[in-house]
Symmetry: C2
Subunit: 155 residues, 2 copies
């Protein structure tokens, strides 16, 4: 049936950010709905932000539109020009190429659920608050001057 | 601000279906969020189904994925293999090219709100229950044998 059994789709809190930017993501859990459902035109993430969680580091994409709709709880949308509370049913859109870094922060004591829609990222992504940059050419996060992050190797 | 002021975006119940398939759409009201917000990668509709409303005639697209998430109220998802109730937070996905006609029907006595995501339709669309077909080549609805609908002209 096309109605999705969310519980049957893997939920994870993994991130590809390097440290120290990965640890703040530990309270963001998400399910990738598009591959589970056979969609390829766009991606859809079903995200649970636990109290204290952030949706991402504050960022903007050069070449991918993003859309979010809040399903449950509340989150603070933080962007270049300030903050705004979002509650169930509220929508926000982030057109590609607009240098307005954004993310959602759950400052409440309850889970916040939202849906995020966007294509697979194939362009540079900018992070105005931190010394990190996503380079589309090689798919890697680097410092803003292009130097790699030091990776702690497991022995 | 990227948070959308839904009340400021035009809401309409217009349809491009010919009669007699247009009239059943009168209880579906929608806002096109993507153009209002400057998104072009995909379309996003914010839909209100009033009691008795249907989201569309039951259909499937040859070349466009669709995704819906219920925000408020409830609707019955009708598809080829049966029916299933959807409530706030429920998601459904309709991969392109899968011949499983679907639509949402509001059989309750309250409004149902949902978000629908999909690209601009550029391929044929099939309507298993009715004698109608969307021909991508010319963007027109015809009967299944290709003959045009008779249009009642206003005098």
């Amino acid at each position: 049936m096309p109605k999705l059994d969310l519980d049957a789709i893997e939920q994870t809190n993994r991130t590809f950010y390097p440290e120290p930017y990965a640890s703040p993501m530990k309270n963001r859990f998400y399910r990738r709905l598009a591959p589970a459902a056979g969609l390829t035109d766009f991606g859809v993430s079903h995200v649970t932000l636990k109290p204290g969680g952030i949706s991402s580091q504050r960022h903007w994409h050069e070449g991918e539109d993003e859309f979010v709709v809040l399903l449950q709880g509340e989150a603070v949308l933080v962007e270049e020009d300030g903050e705004m509370v979002m509650r169930a049913g509220d929508c926000a859109a982030f057109p590609k190429g607009v240098p307005n870094g954004h993310h959602l922060v759950n400052r409440s004591d309850k889970d916040c659920l939202f849906i995020a829609v966007g294509r697979i990222v194939a362009t540079d992504c900018h992070y105005p608050d931190i010394d990190m940059h996503l380079n589309a050419a090689n798919g890697r996060f680097t410092h803003k001057d292009g130097t790699p992050f030091r990776v702690a190797r497991e022995s």
